[in-house]
Subunit: 353 residues, 2 copies
């Protein structure tokens, strides 16, 4: 049988709780002609998944959506052979299908992975859409310039840690915003940010101002709320704001983005700012190849570091997701549910893999 | 809270089932003076644990026993600092104590691990009591001689794979006995055994005889039952039989060892055999240092390979144990329940670790 998590019938509150999710079972699917069956190894947990759930894109009974890394068990799909490692969107499930007729977000395109290019888990991280998000937002939309100042919120999170390092590599002064002190220490000591400020500090706005003596030229926004409010007065003329996510508002019923735009409208206009929404799907077709060609060697050489918050076990999925949504994670959150044979791990499997 | 698995109140059947185990919670213990608190990373699963449970050594309410690798969270014990990796016997539990007054089998002595000497998970495997079991049994009791023939049952299991490779390194002809074909292929192709026979084959005794044309000089016994019966007629004069385990009999109520000795008595006497019980606790005090000094470089050089069957997540423990007892595992069974920081994995933890 194939176990998977689905939304329970309970109305969703502002934040997920253990009652939000149920385990269900169904027979392991048989791949049809043009399809392959994968066993899931890594499940990526990202805040946008809560958006899918809150907005009703995902419904009770559906397999909870997630980007995944898996291994082909059986294949009737050209180019995918048993044993191959693949990026796909099997979700919070032990098994999934890829190929013809398999529903998925249009821009999340299954692809075969080459384990010699980096850990396969990175395909749901720094060498996947997560990294492409950071790269598109910072390099393409942020227009980084040496000597200018970039601010990145949720700085130790999946996207933030990468976006900040890319700005640093462009010669920018980089200031992170994070929660716990250990996250701030990490982005400065390990990732090479110039400074980091905790939004939990009582004098956070003053600390942020002090960390940005010349003002802010690029703001990579993952949070919103008081973090945005503290940054708003610091924007320089012709600065760029890239809105990647607004995790502080995920639990709210209103239109957080519209409210943020209203709050900032006068400043944006007066300072001739560029304010851009970041949607990674816009960049896959034209930029994914260039992104991978640039990022893979940066990661291999250690010029871009990447911290995973890895949990273990299928049953750990809801708890890890809840922790991430409340900031109790540390790094890019993912859950390993099966052995990673590319690392030499073996494990008995329900189907040959 | 500290989650742990314990035996349920149900009478134990011959083999474990999902109803055999319950999860319970208790406060995370506070280390007293002379103690350290560890967070468990790897839980070793070994057939002898079922013996503890069946014989009543372990009772409902007790934390299920297991050898573990963990990381020190807090310490009032000299020589154990927060962050240190340790071998201990925290059992099927998220946290455990080591040090003064902590109950444990006398010969399972907590020790600090050096991650530069090999993966820390190997401390419940090839570089721990599992490896010492194989080494003591084959090298000390088996008295291997070049050109002679060794037979190892449960050849791809935790002890079997190591015992067989040690015999090979002594120049012996090594014949494995395993279940599924993929296990047999593995011990021949990957571990360098000379042959392997499946006990599931209808003509298994004939196949074993054909694989041992000169007879058997050393028999490393992990199984018993029909596997022993097929080996019995092949013993050469002055051959050695080392009884490590009798997994085929774990579910039986009688004295399997006594019955095996009765079945073999005439052969043992007539052929002047040495038949020895292997109890690893007899070898720790006098031989563990020499064992580690010999085995560590063998593993580092790849002269001894080691296959882990690694599952993921605290909730995976009963299923992994059930699989191991029924032969559905493949390699040394262990469960990873927390991130391994020695591998760079990070994870939010309930207590600083």
């Amino acid at each position: 049988m194939n176990r998977y998590w689905t939304l329970s019938e309970q109305p969703l509150g502002p934040l997920p709780t253990p009652d939000t999710f149920n385990i269900r079972e169904a027979p392991i699917p048989e791949p049809a002609e043009g399809q392959a069956l994968t066993r899931t190894i890594y499940v990526s947990l990202d805040p946008y998944q809560w958006g899918y759930r809150r907005r009703g894109v995902e419904k009770p009974g559906d397999v909870c959506h997630a980007r995944t890394v898996g291994q082909v068990c059986a294949s009737r799909l050209d180019g995918f052979a048993p044993g191959d490692f693949v990026f796909s969107t099997a979700g919070w499930a032990e098994f999934g299908l890829v190929g013809e007729g398999v529903a998925r977000p249009a821009y999340m395109i299954p692809r075969k992975l080459d384990p010699t290019q980096g850990p396969i888990s990175y395909a749901v991280g720094v060498l996947g859409m997560l990294g492409l998000t950071a790269w598109s937002g910072m390099v393409l939309l942020g227009k980084p310039q040496a000597g200018q100042t970039a601010v990145v919120s949720a700085a130790s999170g999946g996207v933030g840690q990468i976006a900040g390092q890319l700005a640093r590599l462009q010669g920018m002064r980089v200031v992170g915003i994070a929660g716990r002190e250990e996250k701030c220490r990490f982005v400065v000591d390990e990732l090479g940010f110039d400074a980091c400020v905790s939004h939990l500090a009582p004098d956070f706005p003053d600390q942020l101002r002090a960390a940005c003596p010349e003002g802010v030229d690029v703001y990579f926004e993952n949070v919103g709320g008081p973090v945005f409010e503290a940054t708003l007065p610091l924007f320089r003329p012709k600065s760029r704001m890239v809105i990647c996510g607004l995790i502080a508002h995920y639990g709210e019923s209103g239109d957080a983005r519209a409210e943020l735009m209203r709050r900032g409208a006068a400043t944006f206009a007066e300072r001739k700012m560029e304010v851009r929404d970041l949607f990674v799907g816009d960049f896959v077709a034209d930029h994914q190849d260039r992104f991978l060609a640039e990022m893979t060697p940066l990661v291999a050489r250690g010029d871009v570091k990447y911290l995973e918050d890895r949990r273990h076990g299928f049953e750990a999925l809801p708890g890890a997701f809840i922790d991430m949504m409340s900031g109790a994670n540390f790094g890019k959150t993912l859950v390993q549910i099966n052995p990673d044979q590319s690392l030499g791990e073996r494990g008995a499997s329900k189907v040959a893999c």
